[in-house]
Amino acid sequence: MSALSLRGIAKSFGGNAILKGVDLDVQPGEFIALVGPSGCGKSTLLRILAGLDHADSGEIILGGSDVSAVAAADRNIAMVFQSYALYPHLTTSENIAVPLAMRRLSRVQRLPFIGSLIPGQRAARSGIIRDVREMAVSLKIDHLLDRKPGQMSGGQRQRVALARAMVRRPAVFLMDEPLSNLDANLRVHARGEIVDLHRRAGVPTVYVTHDQAEALSMADRVAVMIGGQLLQLASPQTIYDDPAHVEVARFVGQPRINLLPALAENGIVAFGGIRLALEDGGVTGKNVTLGIRPEFVSLTQNRQDALAAHIERMEFLGSEVILYAKLDAIGETMVVKLSPAEAAGLSAGMPVALTLAAEQAMVFAEDGRRLRASSTTVDATREKAHG
């Protein structure tokens, strides 16, 4: 049984459909990254999950029961916000204690002075203090317990926010771009820490980000959301190697995938010397998109059957060189990933010949769907046509 299920979540704001029926299953202990460009609805989905917004339709099943109508406070879902949303007037220990105090103490017990007169308050308070301390120690922020958020760095605040969310051992853990306010170095470090924390706590996590590298590097499974729809939910490797939709292919991967216009005739897509046979041989006279990742484009000396292009610019990245070359025939810019040795002696303006690795090429239909295809030779095609 999955820890959390979303069924057909739809939401629109003022006639604008933000979410168009999202289904998602989170397995126990799983780390799911919800990734997409800004405005794709991922933050709205997270707010609906947390109970801060309500879906127009669809249901949220948490631990076997429908919580769609349950208030955020009663959902047993914790959330880390992009701005951390720490209470600036409370110290670190008070901040971490808030979710516990709200649940373990009655409203009267929470009152200053009077609260301490109510029976049971003292025991509950000391339990809270113990749990807060334990949490702080495990996140290595116990030396910050008496500081206020204004006196801490971004990284420290982010840990406090994590501690506040984890301290009550929620059923599901939501994170809304928690690393986007950190500088680049700290971000890479914090990625590892969050993954590590997740592994130790084992709480299913939904992690929203617009950074595809973050999603691929952290998650067990990546959910790519574009235009209010979940286009693909799969392991990082599958998302990268085997995208189900042209938008997924376009969004994931840095540098971006090459997408080239091509024509399908009698189930065959031919482009720049490669031929791909579609599984559905009946596709004919249709515009399709040919996709190929930069690492599967290479330079060749053999000009025949190759794509003639001119180098626009080159980016040296240390272990690799990114080459941008404009195709002479159709004016599209191809991105090519080369080793520094391959790129030696090249410079902007030079003519080059490019070949594509046919086995790695993907074909997408006009509506963006992936069309299964396999590499084929001219001879095989002829045989097929005659036979």
């Binding site: 801060l52 949303a85 209470y87 808030v98």
Partner: protein, 307 residues
Amino acid sequence: MASIVATSLPMQAAAARERNEARTALLFALPAIILIVLFIIVPIVAVVVLGFTDFQLGDKSLRFVAFENYAHLLRDRAFVKSLWNTATYTAIVAPVSIALGLGVALLIESEGIGRSFFRTAYFLPVASLIVAMATVWQYLFHPTIGPINALLGEIGVHGPNWLGSSATALYSLSIIGVWQSVGFNMVLFLAGLTAIPRELYAAAEVDGAKSAWDRFWLVTWPMLGPTTLFVTTISIINAVKVFDTVKALTDGGPNHASEVLLFTIYQEGFVYLRVGYASAMTTVFLAILVVLTFLQYRVQDRQVHYT
């Protein structure tokens, strides 16, 4: 030798540039300094100095009397009474108008439609001319034809002579004072409320603050701290400065029952023309305001600013 010259010259140049910069800065500040001295410092000093004289408007000479005016103030029943009345008025108007201002601001903030209508409606008393509105209040409070007493009569209560009786005059003025300042406080609180990050409320909700009451104490009230400090200071100062309604509606009466500090100063200075004596009162008045403001910032400032 050459190297020493080379290093010392830029240092001299830097010092000269610094002096030059300081002079320029002073030059830029000069208009402001002149204006402050001319329109704030000089008048205050003049009032304090006049407070030690027996100057009367129209006199050709004046005599220094040291603390005679202040000694007289202590024995002046009208002054002590007005001091007490001002304190009472402030003790009513400031807390009530702050609480109501916050309440109205919270209601308007949570309201989706008609927000700007209510904001304008509550702000109207601030923008309106209080002396003109005083005639409306005089009618409302009229013991026989006033609608307030007519309403009270409907439920069998015999309404008091609001502005005409020494038992109720000050409280009636306090009601007008509250009516007048709620809108102003509301606008300040509204500004404070919009500055609270929405994510804090979301965090409070996720953390288990179920009711609006819980969220108010966890987020709104602490985050409004700086605003509340400012509103409190402004409200107290404004209440201590009450004058126009007193002058227009009761003229300090009946029997000094609604005489407030500013009214007494006005009487002494502009009716009896005893400028020296009025200046001594003004000095006391200023001292009270300065002490109040200072105390407030000393006591509260550290508690309401978190960063």
